[in-house]
């Protein structure tokens, strides 16, 4: 029995679209951490309050123009409100484009499903993993016992679409997300492992903030990897290496999953180096800053990030997000640090691959 699309869309159209944003939480906030803690805006508590009030009223603010869309304010707000989602909604309402028009067009076109994606559409059975739009990782999933028995869904029919939050087009995210959930729903999965952190954050925090039903349980890759590693614990050889972890922007929506990074590192004998830019203070990979054409900030951000890794003695830089990998791998390599995806590190720990020195 297939997922009932008409019924789903009808339900969604009644509920969806409105951000769950509690203004009272902002009125009574004493810290305005969402803006004060921002690494890219120079703003103190005194200046933050009127800007937040402006945005709550739907008015323009310099924040909407200068925001790097790093997602971090979602995490800085300890009261469960959604400052970042408010910012992106307002950018669209006020026609403020964070990136040039051609780049926005490019990203909108890039993830539109085409006929070529159809072969990836059918045939997956549970348990399954979504590889988002990163086919380069198919071999790893197919060949590793960490992923055996998982069938793969991949391609633009399953792309979570959260990227449009970086481009001031969140309505496209929501419009397409409903269809993506429908496509996944057609498989009637109860659970779905999300290879990309961004997919997980979309199906959990973002969908919830906009009352979008998700008829399956998303499973974070790191949670999945941790449980598989526990299963193969007797086969793990401690790697005895020092690593830095590049936190993806979307992890700001699901900070509760962050402990799995340390849990995995501990299990496979990896030392996470002590850094200035870690946890809440993590720096963005700067890919989006480049899309926004803030060249000096892009260079400065990457320089600070990589220098911090070097200073902390990292030998490897571990990634979850392929976009972060793409953005930073060259910069870290030039400084003698090896870039590596988390799942590859886990494969090495159980002896499936060798460590690149």
């Amino acid at each position: 029995m297939f997922f009932n699309l008409k019924s789903f869309i009808k339900r969604m159209s009644l509920k969806m679209g409105q951000l769950k944003f509690d203004k009272q939480l902002c009125f009574t906030c004493s810290t305005y951490d969402c803006l004060v803690k921002c690494q890219y805006l120079d703003i103190d508590r005194e200046k933050a309050r009127p800007e937040i009030m402006r945005m709550i009223k739907g008015e323009d603010s310099f924040v909407l123009h200068d925001c790097t869309t790093c997602y971090a304010c979602e995490e800085y707000c300890t009261r469960g409100n959604h400052p970042f989602f408010l910012i992106t909604d307002l950018q669209e309402q006020l026609d403020i484009l964070p990136a040039p028009k051609p780049l926005t067009t490019q990203w909108i076109n890039m993830t539109e499903p085409t006929r070529k994606d159809i072969p990836q559409f059918y045939g997956a059975t549970e348990p399954a993993i979504t590889l988002c739009v990163f086919p380069e990782h198919i071999p790893a999933v197919n060949e590793s016992k960490l992923f055996n028995e998982l069938s793969i869904i991949i391609g633009r029919y399953f792309f979570c679409q959260l990227v449009y939050l970086h481009l001031g087009k969140p309505s496209i995210t929501r419009e397409r997300l409903v269809k993506v959930i429908e496509h996944i729903g057609n498989h009637e999965f109860k659970e779905l492992v999300c290879f990309h952190d961004e997919c997980y954050s979309t199906f959990t925090t973002y969908a919830s903030a906009y009352s979008i039903d998700v008829p399956f349980k998303p499973v974070h890759l790191f949670e999945y990897l941790y449980s598989k590693l526990k299963h193969y614990e007797d086969q793990i050889s401690p790697l005895n290496i020092k690593v830095a972890y590049q936190r993806p922007c979307s992890s700001r929506l699901t900070p509760k999953m962050e402990h799995y990074v340390d849990d995995i590192f501990e299990l496979i004998g990896v030392e996470r180096v002590s850094r200035e830019y870690t946890g809440q203070n993590s720096l963005c990979c700067a890919s989006v800053i480049r899309i926004q054409q803030k060249y000096d900030l892009f260079k400065d951000n990457q320089r600070k990030n990589v220098e911090d890794m070097v200073k902390a003695g990292a030998e490897y830089c571990v990634f979850n997000c392929p976009m972060c990998y793409s953005s930073l791998s060259e910069a870290v390599t030039k400084k003698g640090i090896q870039p590596i995806m988390m799942h590859e590190l886990c494969q090495i720990a159980i002896g499936e691959k060798k460590l690149r020195k």
Binding site: L97, A99, P100, K101, P102, L103, T105, Q106, N109, M110, E112, T114, S287, R290, I291, Q293, Y295, S326, S327, S329, E330, K334
Partner: protein, 458 residues
């Protein structure tokens, strides 16, 4: 014909002459749209002396002689429209000299671009030449003869502007040298002598056969990088090119547009390659280019694309294999393009015509052009892949190509390496006294009209 065959055997040896169907078939066509026509003989000489003798024989027998290198012009320039002898110079493949100090190489006419690239990488890694994006089987001389462009054309002009000397077998069989090599052992330049190289460049083998070439080499920097600037509005392209070339920083500027994959739909990509010996040098150049385009970025009308390392690698590849892949996108091995040389300011009009023609004939298209000189002009392509096994598709593509040639001339451009029908269009529009001069030159050099007949027929 039999006596000609044996005369040719006497000159080059039996192994290097053929009148067999399979060879004649291969040399009867290229991957473009021109109708095939078989030669009577295929001959592979090994030396200038052999070429000289073959040309003298052709004069006696009044048999056409068509020179082929890689035969990759796509516009039928090496198709023997009137039969005769195909002279494939592929065996004349020696790199004769590389002068490190004066930075030039002397090569035989059959040296391919791939071979010269490999030779320099192995023996002179600090030097390079302006490699075109043709398949590496294309010959350097073939590319020069058609006024080809390469990776250094934005800095130094057409590849034919980089010629330092020629050895030519004239249509009467005499051999002569052009440039400093005619009075000195050093082939450093065409100047300061009368520029006789112009009698052979752009003539497609109708005025003589180039057997040796002196070509400029350039410093090869250790590092290369590429940025791609995106715009939606074609009218912005000339200004982008103006600003970027004004910095004098780029190695190469290419301009592309294609509807597939979706990431490139409705966008114009301006690729800007830079080189440097250090990261600092690269960064200096990159920053100047970003700063030069800041007004377009601030207006939100343009921006630099974010690329994965894989995309970068593909764009930096010399020659670009993506061009070849696009050429077979419809399968069936057919690809043709009209690549007019146009003023850069005419890009918007050319782009509009490209879309109109593609829409009129329901054809997919690809356009990848190159800035030549510091915005002095550019090559624009109306590129159409087609299925060679589909006669209807061929017919439609032919019509599109014709329209593209007409459009190119209408907007003030000149079709590059034009096939015979496009040559006729050009000559119809050409100044009458220029035509008369061309005719006089051909009559003077090739009174028997044996050299690649059908081309530049005034």
């Amino acid at each position: 014909m039999e006596s000609i065959y044996y005369s040719l055997v006497n000159i080059v040896g039996e192994e290097y002459v053929s009148n067999q169907k399979e060879e004649l078939f291969i040399y009867s066509q290229d991957s473009g749209m021109m109708d095939p026509h078989e030669p009577n003989f295929v001959v592979l000489p090994k030396s200038t002396e052999e070429v000289e003798k073959i040309v003298k024989l052709s004069n006696i027998e009044k048999i056409p002689i068509v020179v082929a290198g890689g035969a990759l012009s796509l516009s039928g320039l090496t198709i023997p429209h009137q039969g005769g002898i195909i002279l494939d110079l592929i065996r004349m493949d020696k790199v004769l000299e590389v002068n490190d100090n004066s930075r030039y190489a002397i090569i035989e006419a059959g040296v391919t671009t791939g071979k010269l690239k490999a030779y320099l990488e192995r023996n002179h890694p600090e030097l390079r030449f302006s490699m075109p994006d043709a398949p590496p089987a294309a010959t350097v001389v073939g590319n020069i003869v058609i006024h080809g462009q390469g990776r250094l054309s934005q800095q130094y002009g057409f590849n034919s502007d980089m010629v330092t000397g020629l050895e030519v077998v004239l249509p009467n069989g005499e051999v002569c040298k052009i440039g400093s090599g005619s009075v000195s052992p050093y082939w450093f330049a065409i100047a300061p002598l009368p520029n006789l190289a112009g009698l052979f460049l752009g003539w497609y083998g109708t005025t003589g056969i180039i057997t040796q070439l002196g070509i400029k080499l350039y410093p090869k920097k250790k590092l290369r990088d590429v940025e791609v600037f995106l715009v939606e509005e074609p009218k912005l392209v000339p200004d982008v090119v103006q600003r970027v070339t004004f910095t004098e920083m780029p190695e190469d500027i290419f301009i592309g547009a294609q509807p597939y994959p979706p990431a490139y739909k409705d966008l114009i990509m301006i690729g800007i390659c830079i080189t440097g010996d250090t990261e600092e040098e690269l960064e200096f150049k990159r920053k100047l280019i970003w700063d030069a385009l800041r007004p377009h970025i601030d207006s939100k009308e343009g921006g630099f694309m974010v690329m994965t390392p894989e995309i970068k690698q593909e764009l930096l590849e010399i020659p670009s294999s993506s061009t070849t892949r696009f050429a077979d996108v419809l399968k069936g091995g057919g690809f043709e393009y009209c690549g007019p040389i146009i003023p850069v300011e005419k890009f918007p009009e050319a782009y509009k015509k490209l879309l109109e023609i593609s829409s009129k004939y329901s054809l997919t298209y690809g356009s990848i052009g190159r800035v030549i000189g510091r915005s002095h002009c550019m090559m624009f392509t109306f590129g159409y892949p087609f299925n060679r096994a589909d006669s209807k598709n061929i017919e439609i593509t032919k019509r599109a190509l014709y329209d593209a040639n007409v459009a190119s001339l209408e907007i003030g451009g000149v079709p590059w390496k034009p096939e015979v029908p496009a040559q006729k269009l050009i000559m119809e529009k050409m100044d009458k006294n220029t035509l008369k001069l061309m005719q006089s030159m051909k009559n003077f050099l090739d009174p028997n009209r044996i050299m690649n007949p059908g081309n530049w027929e005034v």
